[in-house]
């Protein structure tokens, strides 16, 4: 008890202590109380502020939902253009899926029944889908070709006419050889066709602005498509079936 005496003394004396406030202390407080808005008004303003915040929240949610809607449309467009660009890729995927089917065929017979039934149907469905898609794409690209300039179309048309003309020339030449010499050898036909091939190649190359060494080297490798030979033999007609068969046999 002794040792706490001082602290007890401090506590009692300090707790009982009173200090007289300044004369205008109440007036100051009253002025503060008068200046303060009534509490109920404050409560009203709290509600008002809360409802404004609420409205803003709802507004922002609606606003951002609208904004979110737009990129979804853009995304769809991107996907469409993506399929257009993957024309080359699609057959590869098709090949891959077919490969899987073949793999499953090479499985032991007991496993085969279940797996093929599952595996086979799925790729076929997929292949059909891909085919349909490719058709769509092809039709789209055909439409797109209409945009090509008339100059190019004319050039292609001219080239086609030149090839037809050459085929006709070769056929006439073979016919005249037949009439003059009594028969035409396969070597003679080949020589004529080779000559026509070179002429067509040169004609096409000269259309381009420059002819460099590489183009001329490529000439050796360059081949006319099969339709040219067909055109030549079509022009020759029935009498030259033997020679055409011999030529096809040789070049197979």
């Amino acid at each position: 008890m002794m040792r706490n005496n001082l602290e007890k003394n401090i506590r009692d004396k300090m707790k009982a202590r009173e200090l007289k406030p300044s004369a205008n202390a109440w007036d100051k407080l009253e002025a503060q109380l008068d200046a303060a808005p009534p509490k109920r008004k404050l409560v009203f303003w709290y509600y008002a502020a809360a409802s404004i915040v609420g409205l803003m929240l709802i507004g922002s949610v609606v606003y951002y939902q609208n904004i979110e809607g737009q990129p979804q449309l853009v995304e769809e467009n991107v996907q469409e253009s993506h399929t257009e660009n993957t024309i080359d890729v699609l057959p590869k995927t098709l090949v891959n899926t077919e490969f899987v089917v073949e793999e499953s065929h090479s499985m032991p017979p007991e496993d085969l029944e279940e797996t093929t039934r599952e595996d086979k149907t799925a790729p076929i469905q997929y292949a059909e889908e891909v085919e349909q898609k490719s058709l769509d794409i092809v039709s789209e690209t055909t439409i797109a070709h209409e945009d090509i300039s008339p100059e190019i179309i004319e050039a292609v048309e001219q080239d086609k006419n030149y090839v037809d003309q050459k085929a006709q020339e070769v056929a006439t030449h073979i016919k005249s050889l037949q009439e003059n010499n009594g028969e035409v050898t396969i070597e003679e036909v080949e020589e004529l066709l080779e000559k026509a091939r070179r002429e067509i190649f040169l004609k096409r190359t000269l259309k381009e602005s420059q002819v460099d060494a590489m183009t001329l080297l490529n000439e050796v490798e360059w081949e006319l498509d099969k339709t040219f030979y067909d055109k030549v033999f079509d022009a020759l007609g029935e009498g030259f079936r033997k020679i055409s068969t011999a030529y096809t046999e040789r070049n197979r």
Binding site: I10, E18, L19, K20, A25, W26
Partner: protein
């Protein structure tokens, strides 16, 4: 802290003061202001500033009077508001500097071991001489009767900091009182 039953007169005054009755508010103010200024003066050395803080406290008392609901001591309730107001004032003035260099353990049993009777002015002078952190913890613990846990929450410090601050405050006070007594003895 003693629970003082509310005087019937107080209950009526409080009820009227809740309804913004200025006369009732003034009566309550005149009744409690001197004591509350004494409370604020313990923490704040400048009397004018102490009164300003007390007025802020009373503004809160009258603004939140409906939350008192006549439970417990009205004086105790006002006193707590005043203490909180003083602490936030000290915090605003950045008066708190709690030196955390050395934590002292087992300080709760320690108290000043001098059996000297001091007058209020002397006590106040001794308290005023203490560093801000020591003073606040000492007043809260010894005079207001707060627990270390409550002090820690109020001042946003750890309980051990509160304990060591009290220990240092007591040490310092004891040294000063002894010195004072020696001077008096020498003078005689």
């Amino acid at each position: 802290m003693k629970i003082i039953p509310l005087h019937k007169n107080d209950v009526e005054l409080i009820a009227a003061a809740i309804k913004k009755d200025r006369k009732a508010q003034k009566k309550l103010f005149e009744q409690y202001a001197p004591k509350m200024l004494g409370v604020c003066r313990q923490y704040i050395r400048c009397l004018d500033l102490a009164e300003e803080v007390m007025l802020k406290g009373f503004f809160k008392v009258f603004s939140n009077l409906d939350s008192f609901k006549n439970k417990g001591s009205f004086e105790g309730w006002i006193r707590r508001i005043m203490v909180n107001e003083c602490i936030s004032q000290l915090r605003t003035d950045r008066k708190f500097q709690f030196v955390q260099d050395k934590e002292i353990e087992n300080t709760s049993e320690y108290a000043i071991e001098i059996d000297t009777q001091l007058e209020v002015d002397e006590i106040q002078r001794l308290i005023d001489a203490l560093p801000e952190g020591y003073k606040t913890v000492f007043v809260l613990y010894v005079i207001e009767g707060y627990k270390h846990k409550e002090i820690a929450e109020l001042l946003q410090i750890s309980e051990s900091t509160s304990k060591s601050q009290l220990y240092k405050a007591r040490n310092m006070l004891q040294t000063k009182i002894k010195e004072q007594n020696r001077i008096r003895y020498d003078a005689q």
